[in-house]
Symmetry: C2
Subunit: 191 residues, 2 copies
DNA sequence: GTCTATATCGCGATAGAC
DNA sequence: GTCTATCGCGATATAGAC
């Protein structure tokens, strides 16, 4: 692994454990076993390190949320998507935790993130609409679909933060409860 | 208004606009029209300023979420509670935005917040259970009540952050959509 | 690519006069 | 209570040798 990649791994762990704001470039360099000067050879500044990690996250989303093309999706596809989502969100938990601050301080990242997120949500709403057409969800109008999709999306995005507020430390247990909450939100609409 | 209070007002505005991490005590003093030294006369450090603002927030929660004692609560009580909640959350929007970081760096605040929040959520779940007993919500078991309450609580806590991620700038419009999402989440369970 | 050394800056916090 | 002045520190970032 290149020193650059080692720096990213070290930065990810530090950001996840302690928060972006309190982790300095010196900390990252030390944890990665390289000099501060070398870190600045690979990255223009701290913002660039965050941006590189964000791109890793976006790549994961792209790769892991491809829907089955050859068959009709089912409700258990949703469940496995939710789990995958929680797992990725956990790996990059620093990101959502400090997201509003990060977007404020890096307009380019903000634009990039909003593009990725908007496409993701549009796809998910589309999927929910598809469930109605396939008879998996009860018939409902566009507005109801939109509200349901938005509710589910909110749970997906913020459940981990909610766990941190609870003081929950066991990720697996916390994740299961999140899956339960989300499925229960869809439950009344199942056909 | 005392200089101390002016400092708190200035700090609140700066924190809301720019985020706690990037606002220094010097910024706060300047915005409040007092000297840095004076700021430190009134507050031990920056953490103490955040803690004082947090106490203001907790006071608001205490005062504004008293339920009507003399009559059975209705679903429209819920709606007005949600609106009140969003309005307070907006006034102190820095708080939830930076909350995980703040709790990490101030264990005392963490304990205090968790106490307030746990009591608040317990009360809300209780209220939902009451709705079932009063026949406002359809009969359901404890687990279903808990999951529903948790979902509604999540929307209440994180809707504003979700708006920031959307890039939504109109608070009133964003709030209305939040109310819609929350009421739609309860809707299937109405008797 | 990687290092050491260092310039520069601004922050948190304190001292001491008034 | 309020001010001015300042200390000490650690952060980001760069220069220049290897």
């Amino acid at each position: 692994m290149s020193k650059r990649d080692e720096a990213l791994v070290a930065a990810l762990e530090l950001f996840n454990d302690r928060g972006v704001a309190v982790v300095s470039t010196n900390h990252i360099a030390e944890a990665a076993g390289i000099s501060p000067g070398n870190l600045y050879y690979h990255f223009r500044n701290k913002e660039a390190i965050v941006a590189a990690l964000a791109e890793q996250l976006f790549d994961r989303w792209d790769r892991e949320f491809a829907l089955p093309e050859e068959r009709t999706p089912t409700i258990s596809d949703i469940e496995s998507m939710v789990r995958t989502n929680f797992r990725i969100a956990w790996e990059f938990r620093f990101f959502h935790r400090d997201l509003v601050a990060l977007l404020r301080q890096d307009p380019y990242l903000a634009e990039r993130f909003r593009g990725v997120r908007d496409r993701g949500f549009a796809g998910f709403r589309e999927l929910c609409g598809g469930f109605v057409r396939f008879g998996i969800l009860r018939p409902m109008d566009r507005r109801a679909v939109d509200l349901l999709a938005r509710n589910c999306w909110l749970i997906s995005e913020f459940w981990l933060q909610s766990l941190e507020l609870d003081g929950e430390t066991d990720f697996d247990m916390g994740m299961e409860r999140g899956v339960e909450v989300l499925l229960q939100a869809m439950n009344p609409y199942l056909a």
